[in-house]
């Protein structure tokens, strides 16, 4: 297993190694030690590698991940797994703001809390947060699922498009055009699938409430100007 010690090895060497794996390579499990809050750790992965980070990372860890599995045994700075295409990213601790921003696919699991703007402009990613999420989460969310086992802060789902939001705890306030919606059987099924994938045990899909777009702001109408 290749081990990269970021206290002695430049970040460039790590990301270069992750990008230069040939098809069918055997050595696809990477370990990173002493990340010490480094930014852009394991970004642009484009093959099914497995990366374990022993410690906390800075901005944009696993950014644009496409097919890799990245586990952070610590907390993550802003923009973890931003614009993820596919694969899995697991944060054992907390995540800072913009977690999963604009993500297009794959699964992001945050075992602690996520700060503000979690899932901002999400475009297909699935995000499961064991704890709470901050304000303005899923702002302009286009598609994908955001599952929150704890509470959500202010303005959840502001200006939401078609992303589906599930919160088990309280929601401090809903953003413009975001409403509570009926939890139908297909949603329960999807929730069960996501909880299982995220390794959540002892929590039932029925404990969640679903939030989505009222679709009143989809086409501009001057009489809705107060909502903006």
């Amino acid at each position: 297993m290749p081990v990269f010690d970021l206290s002695t090895t430049p970040l460039r060497e790590l990301n270069s190694a992750l990008h230069s794996l040939s098809k069918g390579a055997n050595d696809t499990a990477f370990e990173i030690v002493n990340p010490r809050g480094s930014h852009a750790v394991a970004v642009g992965i484009d093959s099914p590698v497995s990366v374990e980070v022993r410690g906390s990372v800075g901005y944009y860890c696993a950014g644009m991940n496409d097919g890799g599995t990245v586990t952070v045994k610590g907390s993550a700075g802003p923009g973890v797994a931003e614009n993820m295409m596919s694969g899995t990213v697991v944060i054992e601790g907390d995540a800072s703001q913009y977690a999963g921003a604009t993500g297009r696919g794959g699964l992001l699991v945050i075992k602690g809390n996520a700060a503000s703007r979690c899932g901002i402009s999400m475009k297909g990613i699935d995000i499961v947060v064991y704890g709470n999420i901050g304000h303005m989460s899923a702002f302009m969310g286009q598609s994908g699922h955001l599952v929150v086992l704890g509470d959500a802060g202010d303005a959840l789902g502001d200006s939401l498009y078609e992303a589906k939001l599930f919160v088990r705890g309280t929601v401090k306030s809903l953003g413009a055009d975001c409403i509570e919606k009926e939890l139908r059987p297909e949603h329960l099924e999807k929730l069960a699938e996501l909880l299982e994938k995220a390794g959540v045990a002892g929590v039932k899909p029925e404990e969640f409430k679903r939030y989505g777009s009222a679709r009143k702001l989809y086409n501009f109408n001057i009489d809705n100007a107060d909502a903006y």
């Binding site: 802003p78 931003e82 921003a101 402009s121 498009y161 501009f220």
Partner: protein, 442 residues
């Protein structure tokens, strides 16, 4: 014999002129602000207010058609492993597939490639046709991140992080539902037919310190190969340029208020931002203060129309320019050939700016399959290439007259201003004097 008081003709208000009155009535009738495309239509100090001095006893010219005047430019030499080399410093600005038809994007790629320059994607992602027909393609990284993916990042020749644009510094975009075809909707991960709002701020960074880390991420994803541009609208050019350099940009793109947009509020276009002419010298000053002039390249856009404009922008210190509106005109936008149809839309050739409605008779700013067919991308590409070559020749003609063997050797010293305003903005003397407002001396 009766006496009649002499009559004076009816007098209209300069403040409440016909256009203003009509706009008040339109707003009252519709309840919505005016949305349109293009850049500012108001008259602002511009390159027309500058003149070149040419050669004299103390400056000798180069022989036209005989002595070489180089026009090449290298962009991205600061950090990128693979900087871009262009034959001409006139590039094509970012315009989205969605705002423009597929044929129009193809035409821009073809024309730019023939002329040896670059073209740029827009807010909507990269299409295969565009990539295929563009030898050098700059991929925009926008707040909306519509169509953003690592594969396209890697197949781009450069990346342009868009912070703002001249038509609307501080504003996002809007692609109205009528232009959202199945393909556009799919590229943007949104349902068909709804208005697509493009955010004005990036979703995962704010401020120059974050931008530095964002640029690091993009470089790491692309293995430090691609030049990274940062594009800003003409708002605070000195500080924006300095901060972009600090954040690690290879190239700064600065777009004045004459720069076009696909669609935004008229009130925004006409009242926010600064004229292109007012932006250049502060940006160049920032680069010089940091010791980065010519190391970080400066691309100027917003109202570039001719080789004279190109030469003036370069003389003021830019490394290259970008054209958008002029490129669309070259491929057929607002062409009098379609006058009858412009009239049916309540406008006239040369004034059509409802690009967001998707009814463009020229088939350029539309997704209507029938209208799109009107634009032959091969012919339109050739027209654009011709135009780019003419502009380049014009700029060379002026440079030779000033005795320069490279366009980059043009200097502010070669220029004078026709108005006090232009003199102050461009920081070149008022013609016939040695006076620059704010600089002292007479």
């Amino acid at each position: 014999m009766s006496y009649h008081n002499p009559l004076t003709p009816p007098r209209k208000s300069a403040t409440f002129d016909d256009y203003t009155l009509a706009e008040i009535r339109r707003a009252a009738a519709t309840g919505i602000y005016d949305i349109r495309g293009a850049g500012t239509k108001r008259k602002v100090p511009h390159f027309d207010d500058l003149l070149f001095l040419g050669a004299s006893i103390s400056r000798y010219p180069l022989e036209g058609y005989r002595e070489k005047c180089d026009t090449s430019v290298v962009l991205g030499s600061r950090f990128a492993k693979k900087p871009i080399t262009l034959k001409t410093p006139i590039t094509i600005a970012g315009m989205s597939f969605g705002a423009l038809s597929g044929n129009a994007k193809e035409a821009l790629g073809r024309g730019a490639t023939i002329a040896g320059t670059s073209t740029t994607t827009g807010d909507g992602g990269m299409t295969d046709e565009e990539r295929g027909h563009s030898q050098t393609l700059v991929y925009q990284y926008l707040p909306s991140r519509y169509g953003m993916n690592p594969k396209d990042l890697r197949r781009a020749d450069a990346i342009e992080v868009v912070v703002g644009q001249g038509a609307k510094p501080g504003g996002g975009g809007m692609l109205l539902g009528q232009k959202i075809s199945d393909r556009v909707a799919n590229m943007r991960n949104l349902p068909k037919g709804i208005d697509q709002r493009s955010a004005c701020r990036h979703p995962d960074w704010t401020g120059p310190d974050d931008l530095e880390i964002k640029i690091l991420e993009l470089r790491e994803i692309t293995d430090w190969e691609k030049p990274i541009y940062v594009k800003v609208g003409g708002a605070r050019p000195y500080y924006d340029t300095a901060l972009a350099v600090k954040a690690g940009a290879d190239v700064v793109v600065l777009d004045g208020m004459q720069g076009g947009t696909a669609a935004t509020q008229d009130v925004f276009i006409e009242n926010v931002g600064m004229p292109t002419l007012a932006c250049i010298r502060p940006a160049v000053q920032a680069l010089q203060d940091l010791g980065m002039h010519r190391k970080v390249q400066l691309i100027i856009s917003g109202g570039i129309r001719s080789g004279a404009d190109v030469a003036k922008a370069l003389a003021l210190g830019a490394d290259a320019v970008a054209i958008g509106t002029a490129a669309l005109v070259a491929i057929g936008d607002n062409d009098p050939h379609w006058e009858e149809e412009y009239q049916k839309l309540g406008t006239t050739a040369g004034a059509y700016d409802d690009w967001h409605e998707g009814k463009d008779p020229a088939g350029i700013t539309t997704q209507d399959p029938e209208l799109m067919k009107r634009l032959d991308p091969v012919l339109a590409g050739r027209r654009l290439a011709n135009y780019l070559k003419v502009m380049t020749l014009e700029a060379q003609t002026i440079a030779r007259a000033c005795g320069k063997n490279h366009l980059h050797n043009l200097e502010p010293e070669d220029l004078v201003a026709l108005t006090i305003e232009a003199s102050a903005m461009a920081q070149v003397p008022l013609a016939g004097t040695s006076w620059i407002p704010g600089k002292g001396g007479f």
